[in-house]
């Protein structure tokens, strides 16, 4: 029972972090949220008795991917511009 509650809390946290990373306009915070998703995912893998996958997820998802995204953000733009992206999306859909 307590196992079920723990996994449910972790899954809810993952959903919350993913929603936050979508709506957040500051891309640095969004990347940190995706790092948190990977961290929780690696804990879940460990709870589901897959330590191999948990190790990979912790090293690649939390450390390497986040850092590469942070470097990319530093070299490009940090804030997401709303009007431009919406127009681009509309022109792409047409």
């Amino acid at each position: 029972m307590i196992y079920f509650i723990l996994i449910s809390i972790l899954l809810l946290l993952m959903i919350a972090a993913s929603v936050y990373s979508i709506v957040q306009k500051d891309l640095l915070y969004a990347v940190m949220a995706t790092g948190i998703i990977s961290l929780i995912l690696s804990i879940l893998y460990f709870l589901l008795q897959a330590p191999d996958v948990a190790l990979t997820e912790a090293a690649i998802g939390v450390a390497l991917t986040t850092i590469i995204f942070v470097i990319t953000i530093r070299n490009t733009v940090r804030m997401e511009e709303e009007g431009e992206s919406k127009e681009k999306f509309k022109s792409a859909v047409k």
Partner: protein, 238 residues
């Protein structure tokens, strides 16, 4: 009209995906009805002829060794393409851009942590056949150690020639061990070394050799990726 077409195409795609997935018997002892489950054979062979404690490793390196070689090749291709795309710009810009210097606590702490991280990575891939983990995991842990040093020290640099030599040697070792299987009258990546005693460090035949090679290869490749990306300086506000 266009939207209706898109929805129709998606519906067709979704229908066939759903049909395929409903045919697979998840949770049943027989994955596909009428076929003997392969997991029983793998698990039985892992303990008796192979004497490997970690069943995941025995499947990844022994039964599916050729797939692992393919994965390593995919990673190698990705790193090569990244390096070739960013090569020209790196030479044009030169120095790495630093927003602010790391504090003395960070530099001293990372100097202390770096050997421990490297040791952990080496442990993970040397003990790949005994404990959870393996070549990929250990290599990535070593790469994060180099990442820490690169972030803490702005003038810390990794030799690209050394990285490529390590990577090539590891790849040659993997393929060479695979080819040696032919010479011992088997197939590619055939296990030709004695299996040893269960839970010993020198057991499992060629699995430790292959995993050490994979560990070195992955570590060198990912360190190269981080170094290439870090030295890429932005034009607008870098």
């Amino acid at each position: 009209m266009k939207k209706v077409l898109v929805i129709l195409l998606l519906a067709v795609l979704g229908y066939y995906t759903a049909v395929t997935f409903f045919d697979i018997g998840f949770g049943q002892p027989h994955f596909v009805a009428g076929v003997k489950p392969v997991k029983d054979i793998y698990l039985a062979k892992t303990v008796k002829p192979l004497t490997v404690s970690n069943a995941v490793t025995s499947i990844v390196v022994n039964f599916r060794g050729f797939d692992t070689l393919g994965e390593v090749t995919v990673l190698f291709l990705a790193v090569t393409v990244l390096g070739s795309v960013l090569y020209k710009k790196r030479h044009a810009v030169g120095e790495r851009s630093v927003l602010f210097n790391a504090s003395s606590i960070v530099t001293a702490g990372s100097k202390l942590l770096f050997p421990a991280i490297i040791l952990l990575g080496a442990y993970v891939f040397i003990h790949g056949h005994l404990s959870p983990g393996g070549g990929f995991q250990g290599g990535v842990i070593i790469a994060t150690g180099f990442l820490l040093m690169l972030l803490a020290y702005e003038n810390y640099s990794v030799s690209h020639t050394a990285l490529s030599i390590v990577e090539s040697l590891a790849g040659i070792t993997f393929a060479g061990v695979g080819l040696l299987g032919f010479m011992h009258g088997g197939t590619f990546l055939q296990n030709f070394l004695p299996a040893g005693v269960l839970n010993n460090l020198f057991s499992g035949g060629i699995i430790p050799i292959i995993y050490i090679a994979v560990g070195f290869k992955v570590a060198a490749e990912l360190t190269g990726v981080i170094y290439t990306v870090l030295n890429e300086k932005g034009e607008s506000n870098g």
